[in-house]
């Protein structure tokens, strides 16, 4: 079935509207049209036209993480941001950059490096690239540097979004310190396109470190890996990242600590970190280990599960992964930012959907379920188990998000921003 000609309003709104093809499928849902606005104004016109036509819309950047989240329940229109690829302002002296959402993270990194700066986000690269700024913001994805620099929401200082009805709204600005008004950027970071289109963003930058050093070692079991991670995180040596990686249950844990900064300082800190972690057992290299930071991209076509937890629970989380995987007959690869309390379990695409589902439910029961009875003095659940992406048949078999705190308030937010539920409907937790 063909989509037919694009509605006149949509064609008028944007110079680049076309019928969707097989490459435009969003997590198994085929859109009818693809609009590629060149700037925020055109994007607003596209969304106004979509609103007039009652069309559902899913924003798309490089498509690197388009398979993440639940599939949309409907997608008439893909809004492709890749033509919105201009760096609007790089105020090097202020260590701030303002970009359109379609700017590629790799492209941006090159530009910033020439000024001795970086955007301290290192999400795992996809097959071709690291994705666009908009996509990274919308999924909230972060890599090993999250230990020191946080996630996209921590580095975004301003954002311009387009609401479902085409209203353009900015919050924050281009100064690092700013508390004027609500910070809509926080709300849109990690919103998976369900509140509107991220059109532009401003980020705080950091100096590109003069040197990097990876201190790595193997640890036989979870408790020993945990001890090494805890020692690194508790040290005064200011690690930028502390990661673990275990490709198979039969393999030992690799532990890696990244130290960055002035070359002399890094050399000294690497020596001290080596001593702290076990002397001759550890090795030091300026080269990034092959396994470093693949976390969320560990199984391109399989299932990747993100487990977020309080860092002290690492041994318990790793034990729950092993127990759940053994019961389901799986052998997931485990990797991630252990010191920051975010790790990933990746299951091969050949795994039976029922087994993956059993594994995820077992993990949730073990680590992300509030204890019975009245909640103690703290968050009832202190961990989450989210399926970032999975083959279609696995997606059908389970809820990728699991229980989410304050879902009622999230629904209320969605209803305010997108009352007709036309923006990426169903992508987020609870069918939002």
């Amino acid at each position: 079935m063909t989509a037919g000609p694009a509605p006149e309003a949509l064609a008028k709104a944007c110079s680049d509207v076309r019928e969707a093809g097989p490459d435009d499928v969003v997590a198994s849902v085929a859109p009818r049209f693809v609009a590629s606005p060149a700037d925020t104004g055109e994007a607003a016109a596209v969304l106004r036209a979509a609103a007039a036509e009652g069309m559902t819309a899913v924003p798309r950047g490089g498509g690197t993480r388009l398979a993440w989240g639940s599939p949309p329940v409907s997608c008439d229109l893909v809004i492709d941001t890749r033509r919105m690829n201009r760096v609007l302002e790089h105020a090097a002296g202020d260590q701030v950059v303002r970009v359109q959402a379609g700017v590629g993270l790799d492209q941006l990194a090159g530009l910033l490096a020439r000024a001795g700066q970086r955007l301290a986000l290192d999400p795992p690269p996809g097959a071709a690239a690291s994705g666009t700024v908009g996509g990274v913001l919308a999924t909230g994805v972060a890599g090993p540097l999250r230990l020191r620099y946080g996630t996209p929401r921590d580095l975004a200082i301003g954002m311009t979004v387009v609401r479902a009805d085409g209203t353009v709204a900015s919050s924050g600005g281009k100064v690092v310190k700013n508390v004027a008004g609500y910070d809509l950027g926080k709300l849109f970071a990690g919103s998976y396109g369900t509140l509107g289109l991220i059109a532009e963003a401003a980020f705080r930058l950091h100096p590109l470190p003069g040197a990097a050093s990876f201190v790595t070692l193997d640890r036989a079991d979870a408790a020993a890996a945990h001890a090494a991670i805890a020692a690194a995180a508790d040290s005064p040596l200011a690690p930028s990242a502390a990661e673990i990686d275990r490709p198979s249950r039969r393999a030992p844990f690799r532990v890696g600590v990244l130290l960055e900064g002035d070359p002399d300082g890094v050399a000294e800190r690497a020596a001290r970190m080596t001593e702290l972690l076990g002397g001759s057992a550890a090795s030091v290299s300026p080269a990034r280990p092959a396994w470093w930071g693949r976390g969320a991209a560990a199984a391109a076509h399989g299932t990747v599960i993100r487990i977020a937890f309080w860092a002290a629970e690492l041994t318990r989380v790793l034990a729950a992964i092993d127990a759940g995987a053994a019961a389901a007959g799986l052998d997931p690869a485990v990797s991630g930012s252990a010191a920051a309390g975010v790790i990933h379990a990746a299951v091969d695409e050949s795994a039976a959907p029922a087994a993956v589902s059993e594994f995820v439910l077992a993990l949730r029961a073990a680590v992300a379920t509030p204890p019975p009875g009245p909640s103690a003095d703290g968050p009832p659940a202190r961990a989450s188990v989210v399926v970032l992406h999975a083959p279609a048949d696995v997606c059908m078999a389970l809820d990728p998000w699991g229980p989410v705190p304050a879902l009622g308030l999230m629904r209320a937010v969605k209803d305010q921003f997108d009352p007709e539920h036309r923006m990426a409907p169903g992508r987020l937790a609870g069918g939002i």
Partner: protein, 492 residues
Amino acid sequence: MEHVAEHPGPAALAARMTQICGPDGVITDPLELATYECDGLTAHRSSPGLVVLPTTAEQVAAVVSACARAKIPFVARGSGTGLSGGALPRSDGVLIVTSRMRRIIAIDAESRRAIVEPGVTNLAVSKAAQPFGLFYAPDPSSQVVCSVGGNVAENSGGAHCLKHGFTVHHVTGLEIVTPDGELTWLGDGTGAAPGYDLVGAFTGSEGTLGIVTKIVVKLTRVPEAVTTLLAAFRTMRAGGAAVSAIIGSGILPAAIEMMDALAIEAAEAAVACRYPDGAGAVLIVELDGPAADVARETAAVRAICEREGAYEIRAAHDAAERAAIWTGRKSAFAAVGRISPAYIVQDGVVPRTALPDVLERIAELSASSGIRVANVFHAGDGNLHPLVLFDDAEPGAEAAAEVVSGEILDLCISRGGSITGEHGVGIDKSKFMPKMFGPGDLDTMQLLRCAFDPAGLCNPGKIFPTPRLCGEVPGVRRAPHPLVASGTLEQF
């Protein structure tokens, strides 16, 4: 528009509030109520209709439920140190003071998290974390008395936020009472909870989305070494150039603070801080981190300051020496009272590179108006605190100072900056919001408000100059909003 008379005033709730909070948890005496008439910004005053002092989250929830049922507005207050009138009470409303909720519930040293109640003071968190080699990084100048709950409401900053970030970077979970009285958790303390980042959106919402009853904060490793440098320059321009050069060299200090001659004069008069004679500007640069890095960075910053014209540089290596350097800076706001009967504190932000030009423009504004302006600011992140001096005994002086103060904010906006870096909008700067944000921006922000507080009872009248009526379709106004028609909501 006045509230319709059939709704009982806050005094009618006193009996119910006494049931909830006990007799010593409710204040009805007009003289006692008057002690809550303002927060740290004394220019705005309004005696609350009723004050309640709950001790538990459940009590806060019950108090808010009672207000919501009676359709009476309520305002939360922590220690009352805010500088934008965010906790300004309403005479027709209830003031909910969280200062009796001051338990440090738990410290998980390995996870680097603490769970605290909102009335706990900022510094108390760091003190409790100290035995574990940890501290709570955001450090507003008022940290001895200000509360963590207030910090969350205001997204408070402080001198060391240049490197370590603001409150929003250090909060990973919040238990809140929603404006309809429901107790719920936002986030799970991990900082990576799925779904919308309501913790991030709530932090800095200035008490308009609900009341915080428990907070999970991140704790930070105490740095191995700290060095504080004081550098004296003949001119502000030279000091400003040193700031740019330090940042440009790739060093990220924990703090870079600057004071001008008038601020130094005030500090000398108040606390005899003994800064170098003849300084047109002093710069305080604090470096923290691994010892070897701090030593090297200290040498580099010294060299930069000398190159940019510093004629005297002092270094502090221990807590006592550090305190001596910080004395002048930390006393600056209060010290200005020694050289002026009254003053307005501004909180504008400009891009760091615009600082020298903006400071010159402020000096011109001061010269042309004849109104003295002392400058104390967080130079590293471009956050200015101009202190506009006036004599409140002189008729018209305050209004004239307000004009200069407003022109400084206009200047910040025109340079791509912000009207507030850390004090918040509150009641004080809401009139400047339309200069910084367009109607679409303000309308969209208020959608969040509508999601949390459709009835508009939670700290109404703050941040936004014109409240959005929730449920209203933008641009399509068919009939009065039902809440207006029923007299529940004022349209002002």
